[in-house]
């Protein structure tokens, strides 16, 4: 092919322009940063500036009330029941007051109160220590305040488990699949060697559904936007005394406990 000087310059100029536009565009995309949680939300999706949960303890009366909530979560998310505390995986579970509100033990509390189980789950902290320490960003913060876990990026170093002040994280010490009674095909099962925890049912929120535990709680768990002054969580928090676990750590936990009073209060 023959090419004169003029044509060469023309082609070179066009190529240069193309290169410039390409570089500029990719530079703009990279500098902007791509969020793992970035997508076009479904029109029915429930959205919030900062999701939060309120536990209304008075609504948990019988063992069945706790079991229903835990089972709803664990069944939906394919959480295995391995049957020994060493390899245990749990997203939501219970413990008693002195273990839940560590450092606020009070031996003169009413007996029934000392024995009473409290539901526990990930606090989706504003300043989450697990997110801070993760060496691969496998644990990351969404814009709506949810602390997420990428099971495919996690290298299984378990730094996040050492960092979490709430013991909210579980590691798959072995293949969990044989220990799932009935696999739910709409949520992924995990592999051995990765960390997992509560996700505030982000995949349900996207379809306009409340988290499984909230649905199963019959009003014992209230879920909503902490930044919206008209939300139900804000309403109950403004009318009742509430507590958060280890708030003195500066982690900004987003799970609140309303522990006093009768049912009428809420």
């Amino acid at each position: 092919m023959k090419m004169d000087r003029r044509e060469f310059l023309r082609i070179a100029g066009l190529a240069g322009l193309g290169l410039g536009i390409g570089t500029g565009a990719s530079g703009w995309i990279l500098s902007r940063g791509i969020e793992a949680s970035e997508f076009i939300p479904s029109p029915n999706a429930l959205t919030a500036k900062r999701w939060a949960m309120v536990v209304v303890l008075s609504k948990f009366k019988t063992e069945e009330d706790y079991k229903r909530v835990i089972d709803a979560c664990h069944r939906f998310h394919n959480v295995p029941d391995i049957g020994n505390p060493k390899d245990e995986v749990k997203w939501i579970w219970t413990d008693t007051y002195e273990h839940v509100f560590v450092g606020q033990e009070n031996e003169y509390l009413p007996e029934e109160f000392k024995e009473r189980p409290f539901p526990l789950l990930c606090n989706h902290c504003t300043k989450a220590p697990c997110v801070r320490v993760c060496p691969t960003k496998a644990t990351f913060k969404r814009k709506d305040g949810i602390t997420m876990q990428d099971y495919h990026r996690c290298i299984g170093c378990r730094f996040c488990m050492a960092a979490c002040p709430y013991g909210a994280r579980s590691f798959n010490w072995r293949d969990p699949r044989p220990f799932i009674k009935e696999t739910n095909p709409s949520y992924p099962t995990r592999t051995k060697g990765v960390v997992e925890k509560c996700t505030y049912c982000v995949e349900l929120l996207e379809n306009g559904e409340m988290p499984k535990c909230v649905q199963a709680s019959k009003g014992g768990l209230i879920f909503g936007d902490l930044m919206d002054p008209n939300s139900e969580v804000r309403k109950v928090l403004s009318e009742n005394f509430s507590m958060r676990r280890k708030a003195e750590m500066g982690t900004g936990p987003s799970v609140f406990y309303i522990i006093g009073g009768g049912e009428e209060d809420v």
Binding site: R132, C134, T136, I155, F159, A162, G167, F171, V194
Partner: protein, 390 residues
Amino acid sequence: MFEKALVGGRRYWTLVAVLLAIIGIGFLVYLKQLSYGLGITGMSRDVSWGFYISQFTFLVGVAASAVMLVIPYYLHNYKKFSRIVILGEFLAVSAVTMCILFIFVDMGQPMRIMNVILHPTPNSILFWDSVVLTGYLLLNIIIGWTTLQAEWKETAPPKWVKPLIYLSIPWAISIHTVTAFIYAGLPGRHFWLTAIMAARFLASAFASGPALLILLALILRKYTTFDPGREPILAVSKIVAYAMVTNVFFFLLEVFTAGYSQVPGHLASFEYLFFGLEGHGRLVPLMWISILLAIVAIFLLVVPATRRNETTLKVACIAVFISLWIDKGFGLVIGGFIPNPLERVFEYWPTLPEFIISLAVWATGFLILTILYKIVISVRESIGPGEPAH
């Protein structure tokens, strides 16, 4: 120069064969861990780091201790260290390799290790730890190899290596500081959340590393033509003495803060380690052995007569090494997890597979050390006695 590692006597090859056998067995057990998962170890939801990470923590200290020979020799021109400074640098190479291997065997998804580089995360201390450890490994390989090569050719080492040697000094401090930061920055772990952690790590490193070096030098003298000389050994023993006393002092500062303030969170792990908590006290005997050995070691190291006597010095060095291995290679990491964040006590003990894999990692480090020291000795034998040219 490496060809010198390929010729050796019966004793050398026996040692290499034994170490390779241990590594082989460990590798097979590791394959088992790879297929079953980390549940093969004693670790649990509550004690989520165990023997592997505590060995890593201890060995970072051994690696950093090379600087205790580099500073006197290169910064203060203390010529008597000329024959042993390379032992420190190659010990660092071996120790850092073990550190990296211990992190690797502790990973749940080891095939994803490159994610640390693919998704670099500067807010994670583990990211910085991988940076400083890799850097320190390279520095010591380059410095040790280049200076030994110069010695072999009986010339002065090239000029470009000097800045690297100076760089290796703060770098050695950095590896143990960053390792301490892994622990000292976690809000919910009272036992680790202490500003003196990095200082305590360094003090214990500068005692355990040089103590091991004295023992290694004396072993080399017994079985090879290598002679470290009496004076360098005495000088290093003083370093061990100062560092060990400093380490125990730092530990007592921790005990005071926890014990006098009586804040339950600060006290709990100490109680678990030294007296047992809620009827659980698996680590109690080990921790008291550590204390006892520390007392014996300090006595033998501080009294001039026993420090200068080679037999008692050996006992002191063994005591320092074991005491600090228990303290940092076991108690410090495990103790931080007990009680758990909900103040419940779940204990930990390594399983047999976990122990065999750890032993194989130690064997790998010792194999690297054996080969590197063999090269050093053969080079020295080939050039004959006398001070190196630089």
